[in-house]
Amino acid sequence: MSDVYVVGVDMIKFGRFPEKTVPQLGSQAALMALDDAGLTIQDMQALYCGNLGQANAMVGQRILQEIGQTGVAVVNCANACATGATAFREAWMSIKAGVFDCVLAVGVEQMGRGLLGGGGGGEGIPKEGLLGSGTMPAVFAEAGMEHARNYGTTFEQFAKVSVKNHHHSTLNPKAMYQIETPLDTVMNAEMISYPNTKLMCSVNVDGSAAAVLVSEKKARELGLNRAVKVKASVLTSDPYSDRDLVMPDVNGVTRIAAKQAYEMAGIGPEDVSLVELHDCFATAEILHYENLGLCSDGDAGRMIDDGEVALGGRIPVNVSGGLLSKGHPLGATGIANIYEVCTHLRGEAGDRQVEGARFGMTHVIGLGSACGIHILEKVA
C-alpha cells in the first residue's frame, strides 16, 4: 500500500459569513488548497466533502459546480464534529486502496449562534431542563466533573486551558479571535454550565478547510519539498462503557483511537512535537492530555499548571488557538487542525511556530460518538 502525502492544505480565516453559501465557503478553501499544491481541480480524481448542516444537500457536488464540474466521484459525509476528519480519512483510504493517486478533501460549515445540543426532540414534552441538560456545555461540563471527581481537578485549572488557547490565538491570523483573556476574565465570564464559563466554550463560526492528498508516486512527481506524510489515520466509535448511553464517554473512544494511531505510526506520545486536540470546551481539553497519552492519568491538572502544553512547553497543545478561540465550524474543524499541524511541520507557522516539529497529531471528537486521529510527519 502506498504511503499518503498531503501536498496542499489551507483554511480560510474563520469568521461569520452569512452572505455566503456553504458551497461558496467550501470552494474558497478548496481553491486555496489546490493553489498550495500547485494543482487544479482537473487533477483531482475524487472529492470527499464533510459538512453537517446541509448533510442531505450534496454540498460536495455543489462545490464542484462552483469550481469545476469534472465528473469525478464525490462522497459527502457527516460524522458530528469528526466530520472533517472523516472526509480526510476517506480520501486517505482511497489512496491507500490504490484506487486514486490524487484527491481533494474539503470540510465546511456555516453555523448559527447559540447553544448546541439539547434541542429536545422525541415524543411528548421537551426534556431539556427536566431530565438534566443535553446542551453541549453541560454535557462536557459533566465530563470534566468526572475528572474533578477522580483527581480533584479545579475550576481554575479548567479555566487555564482557555487562557492558554486564547493566548495562542493572538499569534494566529486565521483564528476568529486574537484576544488575550487573563485567568480572572475567564473565570468571571458568564457562567454557562458550571464549570464552563462563556470563555471556556468553543466559538460558533463559519469556516472551511481543504487538503490535497496524493500517493507516494504522485508526491515524488510533484516534489516532496513541502509534502507532509500521513503516518496514521484512525477512526473509532464509542466502545461500551457503563454510563456511555447516559453520559457520553469521550475518553474510551479517544483512548482506543490513540493506541491504534501510535501503533500505526510506529511512534509514541514522547515523539509528538505538537497536538491539535478537540477543545470544544475547556473541560474537554484536560481529559484528552491523558486520553492521548501526553501525560499519565491524573497528571493533566499539573500539565496545565506547569505550562507544559503551552507554546514553548514540553508538548504544545492547540497552538492555533483551538476550537476555543480559533473557532469551531463543525464540519471544517477536522481538516483545519490538519492544516495547522502541516503548517508547523513545514516550518511556516510564523510567530507560533513550534520549533523543530517533526511529528504532529490531530484529534477530534464527534459526540455520539466518533473519534478521528491523524499523525502527520515532516518529510523534507
Binding site: L115, G118, G119, E123, G124, I125, P126, K127, E128, G129, L130, L131, G132, S133, T135, P137, A138, A141, E142, M145, E146, A148, R149, E190, M191, I192, S193, Y194, P195, N196, Y240, D242, R243, L245, V246, M247
Partner: protein, 143 residues
Amino acid sequence: MSEQAVGNGPLPVVPYLKGAGTEDPYLEGLKCDACNAIFLGDRVTCSKCGARDQLQATRLENKGKLYVYSIVYRSFPGIDVPYISAIVDLDGGGTIKGNLIGVEADPANLTFDMELDVVYGDALGRKDKDGNSYISYFFKPAV
C-alpha cells in the same frame, strides 16, 4: 405512549418510567442475563456483549449516589435556570440523568457520591400539544 393516552392520569415523561399516576412509580431497566449490563428504554440486543433476546425488565431502585453534575445557567428560552443536571448511579445498578432538586445550585452544596432519592412529580407544568400533563422523575438529597 398512545395506549396510555386514552387514560385520565398523567403520562410518563419517558417510556421507562412505570406506574405514572399510581402511588408506586418507578424506573424500569433492561438487564442482560448474559453480562448483567443495564439499559434504559426498549431494545432487543445487549450492546455490551451482543446477546440477543436476553434482556429482562428489572425494577430500578429509587435510591442512588451523585456521580457527577453540572450547574446549568444558560439554557433555551422558557427554561428556568439555574438548575442542576445530575448523573446518578442507582443502588443495585443503572445510571440515569435528571434534575437534582431540593438543594441550592451551588458547588458548595454538592459532593460526589452524596446519597440521593429518586422522587416523582409533575413535569414542571409542561404539557404536550394535546394538553396532556406528564409525570417525571427527579433527584433529591436523601432524607
